[in-house]
Symmetry: C2
Amino acid sequence: MKKIILKSILLLFLLANTVFATDPLPSWNDTAPKKAIIAFVEKVTKAGSQDFVPIEERIATFDNDGTLWSERPLPFQCAFIFDRIKNLFSQHPEWKNTEPFASVLKGDMNSEPGNINGADKDLIAMVLATQSGITTDEYEKAVMDWIAVAKHPKTNRLYTDMTLQPMLELLEYLHANEFKTFIVSGGSSDFMRPWAEKVYGIPPEQVIGSSIKTKFEIRNGKPVIVSISELNSMTAGNGKPLAIQSHIGRRPIASFGNSDNDLPMMQWTSAGSGVSFCLYVHHDDGKREWAYDRKFMDPFDKGLDEALAKGWTVVSMKDDWKIIHPVEKK
Amino acid sequence: MKKIILKSILLLFLLANTVFATDPLPSWNDTAPKKAIIAFVEKVTKAGSQDFVPIEERIATFDNDGTLWSERPLPFQCAFIFDRIKNLFSQHPEWKNTEPFASVLKGDMNSEPGNINGADKDLIAMVLATQSGITTDEYEKAVMDWIAVAKHPKTNRLYTDMTLQPMLELLEYLHANEFKTFIVSGGSSDFMRPWAEKVYGIPPEQVIGSSIKTKFEIRNGKPVIVSISELNSMTAGNGKPLAIQSHIGRRPIASFGNSDNDLPMMQWTSAGSGVSFCLYVHHDDGKREWAYDRKFMDPFDKGLDEALAKGWTVVSMKDDWKIIHPVEKK
C-alpha cells in the first residue's frame, strides 16, 4: 500500500510538473513551427475539444536520418558499414578487386554514398555482405560496440551526440502527451534498434526500418535467428506508408521528415479522416550544420513544394532552432 | 490541477483494486497452471526480486487460433474467406470450375480446411483472390461487417463470443502487471487487427500475422494502400520467432500457444538469458469444447513432447478451467 501511495505522489508531481513547466520546447525559437506544434498537441489532447484524439490513436511517425539526427557527410549507417567492411576484409580478400568493396577499402566512398535512401544496389550489396550469415545477437553486439566509440569525421563527436536537440525535445513533449512515437526510416531496423531506446526513448518494437531476410535454426541445441543474403523490405519513399500499415496497422496523426523519401508518409498521414500534423525539417543552416535541399542526393524538392502548397509546417533550422546538437546546451 | 488530482485518485483506486483483488484468474481452477502463472508474474514484477524484469522487457506473445479463441470445426478466418468467396462469386463466374473455389461454393470445404497453418496452397490462393486489388480500408470494413454478424456453425454464437474466457483473464492480468502483449498468429494481421483491440485489449501495432504484399498509390488525388496478389509473410512455425524478431526486436519472456506451430516461438522465448514462461493450452475437453492433439491437421505433438520434457506449463482445459467461453460466466 505504501508503494501505491508513493507511486501516486510521484505521478502527481510528474503531472503537475508537465502542466506547469514553462516551456516544453526550450531549444525552439518562438516562431511559427513551435506555435503550430503546441497548438496541435493541445487540441488533440484537450478533453472536450472537437479535435480530441483518444490516447491509443495518438500515433506519430518520424524519419531518422536528417530528422532525428544529422546525416552528413553521409548517413551514419554508411560509416558503420564501411568500418565493418574494413574489419571483415581479412576474411574476404576478394573484396580488394570487387566493387563496391574495393572503393570502400580505398576510402573513395566516404563522401559519395550514392542514393542510399533509394534502392541503391551498392548499399544493398554491402548490407547483405556485412550482415548475412551471422545471428541477430551477434549483429546487435557489433552495432553496440561501434556506436559506443565511433566518431563523426567532421565534429569528432559520438554519432549519438549528433542528434538534433530540438527534435529530442519534441519527442519528449509528445511522450508526455501520451503519443506513441515510431521511427520509420530507410535505414536498417537492426542498426537503429540497439540504441534508439536510450537515445530517443523509442523502444525496438516502435522502430521500423529496412531489413534483410532471416532464418530460424537450432545451433548446438540453442535456437538462433540468422540473417540471410536476401533483401526483405526497403522502408523509403512509398515503402514508408506500406511499412506503417503493415507494422502499425493504424494511420499516424502526425509525421516528421526531411526529404522526398518522407513525402508518401506525410501524404498518408494528412489524408486521414481527422486532424493531422506534418512537419518537415529544412536543413538550411550551413553555419551550424549543413545546408542542402533540392539538389541533394536524397532531395527535399517535391516534398518542399507539397509542404508549401498544403501549408504543412516547414522548420528552418537557421531561424526556428536556438541550437542544433545537444552539446550546444548551456 | 483538479484534473490531475482526480486522475491520481482514480489511479490510486485502480492500483489498490489490483492489489487487493481476491483472484485475478477467477475462471481458472486452483491447479498447477494457475499457480505457475501467478508465481511467474509475481517474481518478474516484484522490485528487488532476483528475477525482476523491467517494464519495457515484459513482452508476452500469444498465438490466436486455439489459444485465445476456439478453432473448430475450422479456424474462423476460413469461415470469413468462404463467405467472401460466396459474396464475390458473381464477379468471378470462373470460380465455378476452378479449385479450390468450386469446392467452397459447393460447401465441401466447411470441415476440411487442410493444413491452414502451414503453407497451404489452397488457403493462400483464396486469401490472395479475396483480398488483392482492394484497399486496406475496404478490407477492414469487410472484416468488421462480417465479424459483427457471422455466427459459429455449431454454437450459433458470434465468433468474438468464442474466445477462451480464462485466456481473456490472463491477458487482463498481464496488462495489469504492465506486460506488453502481442498476438503472433498464422492468421492474417488484416483479419485480426480490426477487432483485436476491443476483444483482447491488444492494439493493432501489437498484432502480428501473415500478410500479402501492398502498393501505395494516389487514386483520384487520395493516397490509398492496395493489396496485391503476392504473399508477403507466413507467421506460422519457424515464421513466428522470425516475425517476433522483425516486428518486436526483443525476445519475449512469456509465450502462449496450442500447437506445434507455436513450438519455435516457445523455443526462442525459453532460450533467453533470463527467466521465461511457456504455456500450452491442451484441447482435451470434448464435452465443453473439442478434444484434439497429436492427430489434428495442425497437430499438438512435438510441442506436447517438448513441453513435458522441459517442464513447460500444459493447461488441461478439462481439469484446469472452470469455464471455457464467456457465455458460461455466471
